[in-house]
Amino acid sequence: MDSASAPFDSALFPEGTKRCQLRWFIVWLGILHGPLMVGVLAAVMCWGLALNVTYLNNNFPFGLWIAADLGVIALGAGAFFTGFLRYVVKIDELKNIVNYAVVIGVVCYAAAQGILGVDIGQPLRGWFIFWHANVHSMLTEVAFCITCYFMVLCIEYLPLILENRQINKLGFFHGMAHHLHEAMPTIAAIGVFLSFFHQGSLGGVPGVLYGRPFAFREGFLVWPWTFFLFILSAIACGPCFTILITWITERFARKQLVKRNVFDILAKISGRLLALYLVLKTMDTIYWIAVAGKAGAPFRSFYTNQPYGYWVLVMELGILGVIPMIILLNKRARQNENLLILACILNCSGIFMNRWIMTVQSLAVPVMSFDKFVSYHPNWVEYASTLMFVWVGVIVISISYRYLPIFPQEKELNPL
């Protein structure tokens, strides 16, 4: 590309890469700001007019926000797990996707905290959970770990910013990026520690509700089995989400950014973990059916109220579990790009469905003989304020892709 036709901001692009004209990029960001502003309006309504502008009520204090929160945190597990595989297990090929996994992780965890900021209604009192900590609460542990892990992700994201072509010319920033890269195994190990506990504790929260037989599980020491199932399901779907977002980015960029052997490694690991998760989840479900039945809560009682019929179980474990597992475990199937992306979509949808079931359906199932089944459907305020963070995420990813050296193989795969 000659200098006359080069975009105005081309000096900021990663070396040897091509990007669209600046005006088209600004138009793209402008389009994203439309739905984003609707979300901002919804969030301001929640803060200004309180949560009665939503469809949350005393039956459903946990609704779309909490289900989405748990979902994006599980999807963001690709960041810590890819970091773990790259820096601790030392799978060298993953260096070609770990940067992007970090960007996706930052977006997911920022979204989770943003959603919570709207959900708590009074974000100015958000610091109460740190200062007036209830040390016996799994939710306190989750708040601590998510906040600390978000800091870890920001530190992992920092060297990417410092490696921008112009910033990196400054000696201090160049050195800082270099030394942060050297410290990355330690930072990744801290991230694994934090992620293990907050992913698990998010599962522990429904698992310890002994008044709700639909969610309650026995377990190991203070941790119910849902603690371990949540960790396993998160690391089984996180890599799939990384593959999915990378593939979508490639479609928008109209070029290949990562070699397919990198996808294959992540897909294979994801498939094996998903298989292990499904085996343990099935065992847990069978044991739960037996134990809950003896305790006076027969299995059919959980699935008598529509829309939460038996189809929920079939969909979660079968269509959104077994099918992606078969595709991801079969080498020929996962090397077919269309099938691989289908498996990733099903796997990620399965995680969202599981989180919805463990929060919203748990609250929907009546527990007392005089309880009536009440259904819950989010309203536009909840949808808009949740989707707001999707648009923010797309903006962050777009800017990061344009200006930061995220994909080490891009130059090799797309010579100018």
Binding site: P159, G171, F172, H174, G175, E182, I190, L194
Partner: protein, 56 residues
């Protein structure tokens, strides 16, 4: 919550829970400062610029 806050109780749960939080925060602060000081020393000793290998 610090040990001098009125809500603090001297029991193992408080020490483990809050101790873990402050340990993690301390580790992150130390790592950032270590990298910053090393980078500053590199600049002072004129080792900065293109002297480092590429990392990913």
């Amino acid at each position: 919550m610090f040990p001098f806050a009125f809500e603090w109780v001297n029991d193992p749960v408080h020490f483990v829970f809050m101790g873990s939080l402050y340990t993690v925060l301390l580790c992150l602060v130390i790592i950032l400062h270590y990298c910053g000081i090393r980078a500053f020393l590199d600049v002072i000793c004129k080792k900065g610029g293109n002297g480092h290998d590429e990392h990913h």
